[in-house]
Amino acid sequence: MATPETARDPLDVDDLPMEPMVLKMGPSHPTMHGVIELTLRLDGETVRAADVEIGYLHRGFEKMGEVSTWNQVFAYADRLNYNSPMLNELGYAMAVEKLMGVDVPERAQFLRVIASEISRICDHLTCVGAGAMELGAFTAFLYAVKAREFLYELLEKISGHRLTVNYMRVGGVWLDMPDGWDGAVRQALTDAAGVMREFHKLVTRHRIFFDRMEGVGIISQEDALAWGFTGPCLRSTGIDYDIRKAHPYSCYDRFDFDIPVGDKGDNYDRYLIRLEEIEQSRRIIEQAFDRMPGGPVVSSDPRVALPEKGPVYNTIESMMNHFKLVYDGIRVPPGAVYSFSEAANGELGFYIVADGTGKPYRVRVRGPVFAIMQALPQMLIGGMIADIVPTFDGINMIAGELDR
């Protein structure tokens, strides 16, 4: 890493005055994972100051939530962190269920965890793959995308869509897994693991990659905490904080998995953590399939879940129940809760307020990346302009959950 001291020779300055330069990077620079704008003040190639301007992808999620029914919000929640829609849905569903006090059936919990972990793997694959590509390893990126493709197909099989899944509902999930899905998941995970081994061989120990990741974008433990880091970025500084372990939710307490942590808080740590978390997610999924209980996949509470179609077509009782849920929505009792879960980038929090009607009074999303992005200038300053790319990737900014 180029430190300010080595970046320029004081002797040169005398006869060649350095000219500070302001560079606008973005709002749609190719390496910007979403639309944001960096304003950099450069001293040669060294970043002296940086500002982040966000909000380009603000779609008014919270405002839309206030005019949607509780179940309609899932369609918007999908589009927060669009790399891992299942994790957003899980976070939102848990918040509503916490406020309502609904019990979610076992099998639905397991399906949620499996779907979420597949989403987490997808997210990490995108992050490490894109990171490799931005450092020039295009082949490696294609391998990661290939592995992700196997998983997207699984999501498509269970939910109907790859990205805009809309799979979860308050009180459970949309449908049980299709026949043979578990076998397909195990197969796909094995295939993906094979691809990832190759990916690993291609980049992890390659010196070009190593040199550009190692020691770049360092953040200390204290700083990370002060800025409100969570997720892989916090763990890269050596803190083993993972909400799945610290505050187990859904059925995570039943699975055996490890939390990877780094030492230095640099990009290489973040890369390795993501690589390792893919492995751990695989472990969770395999255990979940081994212990998958039977039973329904959505709550049997008629105030929460739509009744089955057969009775709806044929009996007035279910028909009325169906109608009330459709036009009135789920009636969530008045109150407010904050519910949080471990999304791919850290703590995804939902603070929801209900006023007893079928629509949320307020839906607040605390996206993990929002807190992390504020520290980006600190992680960039002092580094080279080329270091922006791996650091930015290591944060894994997703404009969807940053701007909401």
Partner: protein, 177 residues
């Protein structure tokens, strides 16, 4: 807790930092893939689109269709459940009185704006008559202008087929009197 640096290695070994071994290792992987893909296509994951197409899975939510009654009339009774539940407000229905008293109500017009639709499938969940489905397995085709995506009842019914579900208003025991 796993310390990733312990597991994956912290520093470059002398061999690794020579570029050579790692580059050769990488090249061997890509070369193997290159040969495999050109000679056998056994492990190739790409398709020669559009000659080869991958079928959508069974649950894929594609274009909507309106199901029909046994006599070919539209199944929908314009109850507006789908229009109510749609988060994108893309369904517009105009209800009217049907001549047949056993049907009573039917949609004079039923249009979906496929550009506004987010393909969430809530309308299918919300339909109490098995009238709207998204199981065509097709995605919207490109159109020259926006109006091309505004689909009417006729188009939606063309995609539709007979429904096997027994519907509320008309039950097997629904004789006269």
């Amino acid at each position: 807790m796993i310390r990733v640096r312990e597991k994956y290695g912290d520093r470059m070994t002398a061999l690794e930092s020579s570029y050579l071994t790692e580059t050769l290792k990488g090249l061997s992987i890509t070369l193997r893939h290159f040969l495999e893909n050109t000679l056998t296509r056994k492990n190739t994951v790409t398709l020669n689109y559009p000659e080869e197409k991958k079928p959508y899975p069974e649950r894929f939510r594609g274009l909507h269709r309106l199901m029909k009654r046994d006599d070919g009339q539209v199944r929908c009774v314009a109850c507006m459940c789908c229009a109510t539940v749609c988060p994108a407000h893309c369904i517009k229905i105009e209800a009217g009185e049907h001549d047949d008293h056993r049907i009573e109500k039917f949609p004079i017009e039923f249009s979906i704006d496929w550009l506004r639709c987010v393909y969430c499938g809530l309308c299918v969940d919300a339909c109490p008559c098995d009238a709207i489905r998204m199981d065509t397995g097709e995605h919207p085709k490109p159109q020259i202008d926006r109006n091309g995506f505004l689909t009417t009842k006729i188009d939606l019914m063309k995609l539709g087929g007979p429904s096997v579900a027994v519907q509320g208003g008309v039950r097997p025991d629904n004789g006269e009197g």
